[in-house]
């Protein structure tokens, strides 16, 4: 199958997660992504393992983010290498970087300089907190961006401390927004022939995620939302929205008619809370009452009485149980990537389907500098 971005070349000067996650998506959609890495060390993510899991000298984390890419090494402090990189930049369609403010200027690889070399290039830039303001030079790190953004006050119950999202959400969204901006710029370039600079930051991205809640907050006298005391799931939603313990596990209850829910559960005593406003104002009371009731039977039992009523509910799974489900298996979300005889590992595929096809790629992350020679020849560097 022909992929939508075939024929486009992306140079990835980015390291860690945000920029490389954008590069991964562009690669899966058909672009050729070349990581430009420091000789000897490369992307620092190669050496930062989680759970001490490695494959052929690179962390499994690096493999997860950088499959389906090539690697070109260049020492940007060496004038000859820098000149080679400039010749490569002149022939590329897209480049991304996440260096601290000022570094690309000193290398002569800032957007204005690159524009002189290649006016049609799309130049993507990732920062922590934008290019101006008092936070400009702060470390652009996921947990810190979550912490200043207010996000940590949205999850868990009211008695718990602020709770961060247990995933590098600011990095991942920032990479997503970078890919969106780059693609929009490429759409424009089809017509105008001109490239552009696309800038994203961890903070702007994590604020965008909170756009619904922030809109409530900003227009209601800046009143801070309260987390629910019971089954906390969303600060602005009333009962029963949340996850509840049952006799043998948990059940998730979405929004719906409280009357239908109580009838199906055989739960009495909540009849007076019959408006959305009452179900919001008294959510802790309602949820505590439901919680007592739900503990008395198994998850399977409750699902069997709620699903026929059309009430929105589900089991609560961990990764083990999820991957045993037929519904997971039919997605074919897993694929094996390999690198010669040295790497063969299972990871996820691109979540987007094109013309009814799932997008698979069997190429593992590159050995540091494995394409330096071939790229030097191919691009006459």
């Amino acid at each position: 199958m022909k992929l939508p971005l075939e024929g486009l070349t992306v140079l990835e000067f980015s390291q860690y997660l945000a920029g490389p996650y954008a590069g991964l998506r562009l690669a899966d959609l058909g672009a050729r992504v070349i990581k430009v890495e420091r000789p000897g060390a490369g992307d620092a993510c190669r050496k930062s393992a989680t759970k001490n899991l490695w494959a052929d000298g690179d962390s499994v984390l690096f493999h997860t983010i950088n499959r389906n890419k090539e690697s070109f090494t260049a020492n940007l402090k060496d004038p000859d290498d820098l000149e080679r990189v400039r010749r490569l930049v002149a022939q590329a369609d897209v480049m991304t970087h996440n260096f601290r403010p000022g570094i690309m200027d000193r290398l002569g690889l800032d957007y204005d300089s690159v524009y002189e070399l290649n006016p049609s290039i799309v130049y993507g830039e990732v920062s922590g907190y934008g290019e101006s303001g008092p936070w400009r030079d702060r470390p652009g790190q996921d947990l810190l961006a979550q912490s200043v953004s207010g996000l940590t006050w949205l999850s868990n119950t009211a008695d718990k401390p602020p709770t961060p999202f247990g995933i590098a959400v600011a990095d991942m969204l920032c990479g997503t927004h970078l890919a969106q901006g780059i693609l929009a710029a490429l759409v424009q370039r089809r017509r105008s022939g001109q490239g552009s600079k696309v800038s994203v930051s961890l903070l702007e991205s994590i604020l965008d995620l909170q756009f619904e809640g922030l809109t409530v907050f900003l227009n209601q006298g800046q009143q801070l939302p309260q987390r629910s005391a019971v089954a906390g799931a969303h600060v602005y939603l009333g009962a029963p929205y949340g996850i509840y313990p049952t006799a043998d596990g948990h059940i998730a209850l979405s929004m719906g008619s409280l009357e239908t829910l109580c009838r199906a559960l055989g739960c009495t005593g909540l009849e007076t809370f019959d408006t959305p406003q009452a179900q919001f104002d008294h959510r802790d009371h309602i949820k505590a009452h439901l919680s007592e009731h739900l503990r008395t039977q198994t998850t399977r039992h409750w699902l069997s009485v709620l699903e026929p009523e059309g009430y929105w509910c589900s089991d609560v799974l961990d990764h083990q149980r999820l991957t045993e489900e037929e519904a997971y298996q039919v997605l074919e979300m897993e694929q094996t990537v390999s690198r010669g005889d040295t790497v063969s590992l299972r990871t996820t595929r691109c979540p987007i389907r094109i013309n009814g096809e799932k997008l698979f790629s069997s190429r593992a992350a590159p050995v540091l500098g494995d394409s330096t020679e071939s790229i030097t020849k191919e691009f006459s560097l």
Binding site: L29, K51, T176, L214, G238, D281
Partner: protein, 384 residues
Amino acid sequence: MTRPLEGIRVLDFTQFLAGPVATLRLSDLGARVIKVEHHEQGDLTRKIYAPQLNLDGVSAFFQAINRNKESLRVNLKNAEDYALISRLVAASDVVVHNFRPGVMNRLGLDYDTLKSSNPTLVYGEISGYGADGPWRHKPGQDLLVQALSGLTQLSGAESDGPVPMGLAIADYLAGSQLVQGVLAALVSGEGTRVEVSMLEAILDFQFEPLTLFYQDGEPVSRGEQNPAHSLVAAPYGLYQTQNGYLALAMGSITALAELFACEPLKAYADPSRWFELRDPIKKILAEHLNTQTTEHWLGILEPADIWCAPVLNWRELVEHDGIKALSMLQSVTNSRGFEYQTTRCPIRFNNEPLTSSLAAPALGEHSDAIKQESVKEAPHGAQR
């Protein structure tokens, strides 16, 4: 400034969040988005939440998600309205919908039918769980997708049980992935069908823990003490101080022990054990940090280049110069003159933020104008 998607027209049949958040992004990037709404109730998010959350009589969520769009009110069972939709579809660059499997086929608005009259059409579809398999008829609702996907095992402490992320993350991610797919198709210039499900999007979001799980089969372990990320070593976490909370990212326990002159911490000198021993290490840190204010600790940590930050709430955030410098907030106004504040698009082009002062439309606000315009308009193929 010319916006990158100027000249692109999107016909948007979606409602709730996943689809509309995608078309919000497309509109901020310069596309014209026509929101096709059911003639009676419109997009259900206009009304389904507690009235306390309303702005100008419509839910604040709807107002946030649907700004910068036009509203066309139609009854697809009415022949005249259906003819209008057929003309619009033939003349649009992008169509998106999030109907249950089969609905668009019955309406004759499925991709195979539309591409014959509009071969360069990009057709985006969002579902809960994909078109195959036993969950295909399950409600594609955010909390349920979170619950089924394993995501609720990642945040909070082990003893907290399942902790969902406190906003509609699966919706948001599915919409974000759809935007990428639709834009990639527009880059190619070829008619394309793009599908995203909420479940696949939230699995992609977990690509790091899932890939580790595929290797070792071990369950996620969040720990009990100051939990922030199940895979990261101490000191990573949020810590209570005398007057708030402080965030510590990755860093050296040895360096912290020195800086704080914290004797018990000095026993943990081996970096290779900072993951395995994260709970006891964080417990010592938690006790120590609780003795002074956040500002006190920042005053020690920042000069030493330790990665740290204060934990802010929204009120503290919007008052901070750090966010003011980003101009991330904007005011929008609707046709009744009602003004509200919201966020802007997070992507900047050529150093300019993309702002828009248009609020969300009233139901059917643009119906007449779109009908008149459509009568004059030639089909899509004839324009190029």
